[in-house]
Symmetry: C2
Subunit: 336 residues, 2 copies
Amino acid sequence: MVSMKDISIKCGVSVATVSKALSGQSDIGKKTALHIRKVAKEMGYLPNAAARALKTNRTNNLGVLFVDNMRSDLMHEYFSSLLNSFKAEAEQNGYDVTFISNNIGQSTMSFLEHCRYRAVDGVVIVCADFNAPDVIELVQSEIPVVTIDHVFNEKTAILSNNVQSIRDLVTYITEQGHTKIAFIHGEDTSVTQKRIASFYRTCQDLGINVPEAYVKSALYHNPASSAAATRELLSLPDPPTCIMYPDDFSFMGGRNVLDEMELKIPEDISVTGFDGIYLSQVIQPVLTTVRQDTLSIGREAANRLIDSIENPKTAVAEQVVIDGKLLPGQSVRQVT
Amino acid sequence: MVSMKDISIKCGVSVATVSKALSGQSDIGKKTALHIRKVAKEMGYLPNAAARALKTNRTNNLGVLFVDNMRSDLMHEYFSSLLNSFKAEAEQNGYDVTFISNNIGQSTMSFLEHCRYRAVDGVVIVCADFNAPDVIELVQSEIPVVTIDHVFNEKTAILSNNVQSIRDLVTYITEQGHTKIAFIHGEDTSVTQKRIASFYRTCQDLGINVPEAYVKSALYHNPASSAAATRELLSLPDPPTCIMYPDDFSFMGGRNVLDEMELKIPEDISVTGFDGIYLSQVIQPVLTTVRQDTLSIGREAANRLIDSIENPKTAVAEQVVIDGKLLPGQSVRQVT
DNA sequence: CTCATTTACGTAAACGATTAAGTAAATCTT
DNA sequence: AAGATTTACTTAATCGTTTACGTAAATGAG
């Protein structure tokens, strides 16, 4: 590996001069700077990240906290595409991305310890138990943190606009003439609470009555639990004409039940999903859903995080809300 | 941040002694070593990864080469769950995982340059254009490399047993009494070639005739192209009774065509997938497919890579083949 | 009891970069 | 032209480890 020393020898200058020339500082003569840069390129010089990190206390490395509770989250397209977008934006800005876990090697490190050990410049918390002491410790530390879909006091958070998205969905459904709308929601999280609240609020605003029995609990990304909820809804004395599923994937469970009962979508029953994953747009009928803008969420998370790293004074912690996009699809029938 | 110096002062010994005590070396007295370790724990000492890396030239960091050609690969469950398993195993062994790209910051670095810059101890090539000069340069470098589903000369490769998996599928299909079997395969890659060869070979061994028109080309993970292929197959004068799809997800495209034509699965037409993703097991009918053992593939990749890093002398480059598992499902009908 | 060996620790250089402070030469000022 | 300033570089310290080598004391051998 060619170092600055090698270059300095070849150019007959000191190492300091090489350093300054390569980092484009002012107190170097134009011609020498140019020459040094040329030689550096010729010799295939690459900065030594470790040395730089040691001296500057900056690694140009971002940590990603991504705990797979059920060993399946990375498979959830929402998260994986979000992560992809985050990674792309980080790299654009000269940052690498490293996963942060809490069991590195045989010893168990807390998340914060892991971050300090690797000296990441900042961390994005994508998917984790936001109530775990470990996570809270990290959030309260000196390390810049951005969270996604969860708000910590005084910290920047990127939020998918769940409230508006649910409102858009419900509004669209009612515009198609439905008044009997059921909502199967996911397990209790802050996101779920927002969605439920928005569902009730929107129905209220639109003058739609929501029987208690129309709101069912299930699990995200779990077709079986949505299937069960679907069965219950359909066995009600006065069943809904439209069922909103917790997410596109879970809908696949509901779909099985509907097929079984020989209910055609959307002729006999209308349905909606959430997320707007690839799958939702390639099935027949195309699912009415809301696409969460994972591209923007990931990009925004990276940019905010980097901003708070590079401009600690001026960067302000705030909540950034990213709108989703209604995908009308063909799974909600126009009721005449 | 508390450093070895802080500990050395508190313990009244030299920094060298602290270093040796913490790394468990022999030339330190039992009691002092114990005491130093106790104090280090009390003070919350964490090693400085950068300093260590600078001195030892080892980072305990593994690179992952994961190029998303179509900006959708991370979404492909096969890859994401493989990556998940790789990450878990790496962390178990004290290694972190960093993504390697070729456009870090404004400047374009080759993969190799990026690896050298970050000084990763080794790289796993999960998903990339294996013929790109960039990738070849990396493979031929001094950096330990493990590839997945592609063989480079003299390098360790972890391979899903595509040959056996296709054989299992075809065998199963024929055991159900089918003789008119069509195969829609993905775009041309070494994996595809193996699958096609195994398809022909198995059919030959089983005495099954394969008309040229029964083998169609499509794209992986692309329902539309599989839909088109399905249409062509069904419009043949003598259509197949069973269609093998390139992967589970692509099958969703074929399914739409079959629904449209009011062909019931498996009563009117039998189908199989490939991969064994979550989706394949929650749809109705449950898809007959082969689960690729991503858990083992990821784990094996991590272990082989780490072995070749830690034991460069004894580690041998070889091809590790990981068997898949036939999931019979209900999408292939028993022909009487 | 002496000399060799082992044990337990300290010294100091090194890894490759950054940067404050110093300095000599060149340029400017009046 | 003498002093003040600017320009273009060098010196040297530093970041936190690791490790070869040195050394004094303790233990061993004969």
